[in-house]
Symmetry: C2
Subunit: 375 residues, 2 copies
Amino acid sequence: MTAQPDQASEQAGRIIISVDAMGGDAGPGAVVAGLAASAAKNPEIGFILHGPEVRLRKLVAKRRDLNNRVTFRDAPDVVTMDDKPSLVLRNGKNTSMWSALESVRLGEAASAVSCGNTGALMALSMIRLRKLPGVNRPAIAVLYPALAARKFNVMLDVGADVRADAADLLQFALMGASYARNGMGLRRPRIGLLNVGTEEHKGRAELKEAHTLIAQFSDSANFEYVGFVEGSDVTGDAADVIVTDGFTGNVAIKTGEGTAKLISTLLRDAFRHSLLSRLASILAITTIRRLHKRIDPRRVNGGVFLGLNGTVVKSHGGADATGVSSAIKLAFQLAKSGFTDRLAARVASTAEVAQEEATPSAADAAKTVNDKYEG
Amino acid sequence: MTAQPDQASEQAGRIIISVDAMGGDAGPGAVVAGLAASAAKNPEIGFILHGPEVRLRKLVAKRRDLNNRVTFRDAPDVVTMDDKPSLVLRNGKNTSMWSALESVRLGEAASAVSCGNTGALMALSMIRLRKLPGVNRPAIAVLYPALAARKFNVMLDVGADVRADAADLLQFALMGASYARNGMGLRRPRIGLLNVGTEEHKGRAELKEAHTLIAQFSDSANFEYVGFVEGSDVTGDAADVIVTDGFTGNVAIKTGEGTAKLISTLLRDAFRHSLLSRLASILAITTIRRLHKRIDPRRVNGGVFLGLNGTVVKSHGGADATGVSSAIKLAFQLAKSGFTDRLAARVASTAEVAQEEATPSAADAAKTVNDKYEG
C-alpha cells in the first residue's frame, strides 16, 4: 500500500470514491467496467481501486475513460461470500474490502463501494469506521420500487442483523427520515413501522413499544409517523420509509425481488408461446423495456450503511457493470451532499431535543436512547 | 341455529363444506357467487352457509346452481377485521365465523371456509376445534407461485403468529411435508428453512437449533431437508416447502404480492404509453392473460390451517367470487383426501419413530417434541 502522490494529484477537485474491486460474483472485470461507465458520465468523480494491483492495472488500462482517474491500492486477499465476519475482522488486514474502508477512514475517499460479503462489510465498517455518536445499531437502507409518485420507498434495516429492539427501531426511523430528507428531498418523510397488520394490538412486544416511541419523536425529528404498515405497503404509498429489523427486511426484499424475477421469466415465456404472441412481443419490446427500466434493481443498486462515520454503499453481490455504476453514483451523490455530517447532526440534535422537551413519557424514551448512547 | 333435516337429507352423498358468508371485504354477495361457481362445476359438493339467514336466503335464491345445495345456519353477528381475537373468543358465540367452525366440530361438515379476520379465525379454530394431539402451534400454509416445475411452493407459517421456537419450526416442517405429500402428490418433499443466508452460521439462535432438529427427522418423516434457504428461494426451485415463523412469512408474502401488483399496474400503464404500445397490448392480451392466470393469487386462494382437528381454509379477506370458489375447491380436495386424518397419523407416527430410533442427539429432539405434545 504505497502512496501514489503523482496520480493522486491529478484527482484534485474530484470527489474520490473508494472501490473494493473484489468479492462480487461477476469479478473485478465487471467492477472496472462499472467504474468506466461512471467516469464517462461524470467528470467530477475519481477512484481509489483496491485489490491485486497488477491484475487491476491491466483491466483499467483497457478502459480509456479511466485514464488518470484511478489510484491503486494493492490488496492481495479477498473476502469471499462464505467468510465469517469474525474471521475477516481478525485476519482480513490484507483484503481489498479492508483496504477500501481504510481509504474512507483516512479521509482519502469520501465514500466506499463494495460488492462483497454483506456481513463482513458491515462488521469491518463498524470496527474500522466506528458508529456515529449515539448510534447503537447501524442499518442498511435500500430503495424499493413503489407505486408512490416518487417511485421508490426507503426500507431499512435489510442487513440481516438478527434482532432489533424498540430503541434500535427508533434509531432506524430517525436515520431513515434523515436519508429520505437529505438523499431524496422529502421535507417531512412519512415513516411506517412494518408489522403483520395495521391494528395497534398486533405484533411483537418490541414493535408495540417502538410504535409508542417513534410517535413521540415525530415532531422533534421532523417526520410524519403513519403507524404500523404491512408487507403490501413496501411497494405502496402509505409511507416513504419502511422501518423493520434486519432479518425481516432481508427476507421481505429478497422475496419481493424473487417475485419480480419470476414474473419477468414467465412474461418472457408467455411471449414465446405462439406466433401471435411473438409478434406482440416485437411490438411490445419498447414497452417492456420501459417497465424493466422503471423497476430494474440494478438502477437503484446499492444499500447504504447508515449510522457510521463515513458512507459505505453495499452493491449487490451479483451486480454487473450497470449495477456497480449505479452504486458508485449513489456513493457520489451522498458524498457530495455531505450526508454523513447531516445525519450525525440529526442524531445528535434529536437526542438534545428529546432531553429538552422531555415529558414524563418522552423522558423514558430519551433515557432509553441515552442508555444506548452511552453503550 | 335450528337443524334443517329436510334440506340436509338432500345433501346425502355430497361432501359438505361449511362456509362463513360474512367478514370478507366484498360481502356475502361475493361469497354466494363463489358457492354458485363451485356448485356449477362440482356435483359432489354441498354447503352449510352461516350468517344472517334472511339476507343469505335471498342471495342464494337468485342462483339456480345453488338450488337444494345449501343448508342455512342463522348467525346474526359478524367478526370484523378489527375485532380482537380475545374478544371474539369471549363474545363471538353468535357470529357466522363461530357457527361455521361449529359445523366442522359437530361433524356436519368436512371442512370450513372463511374470508374473515385471520387472527380471530385461528383463535376460534384452536379453541373450538382444538389442536391435533402432539401439535403445539398450528400454522397457516399457503401456495406461492414459483419457477418450480410444479408451479407452486408451500410456505408456512404465514399466519402472523409472533414467535416460533425451534420445536415449532420442526412441527411446521413435519406438517408442511405432510401437506405437500398428501395435497400435492410429492413423494419426498424438499424442506427448506427460511433464513437471511444459506450458510450454517447465519441467522437467529432458534433457526440454528431448528436446522439441526429438522435434519434429524428427515429420514423418519420421509422428507429431504435442503437446509437454509433465502427469500429469493420462495419463488425458486431449491425447496418445495419453505418453513418460517408466522411473522416473517406474513411480511414476506405480502411484500411479494405487493411487488406482483406493482408490476401488473406498471405493465398496464406501460401498454397505455403510446399508440404502438396500445397496438402491442391488443396483440399481447392473450399472452398477458395467460401469465395472469399462472400467478393469479385468486386461483390458489386459501391458506390452510394445519395442526387442528378439522380442516379450515382461510380465504383472502378481499376475495371475490373466483377467490371464494378457489378456496372452496381447496377445502373440498382436502376433505376428500382425508387430509386431517393423514396429518394426525403422520405427526403421531413421527413421534413414535423419533422415540424408537432415538440416537443420543435425536433423543433430545424427541424429548423437545414430546414436551410439546404433553403441553
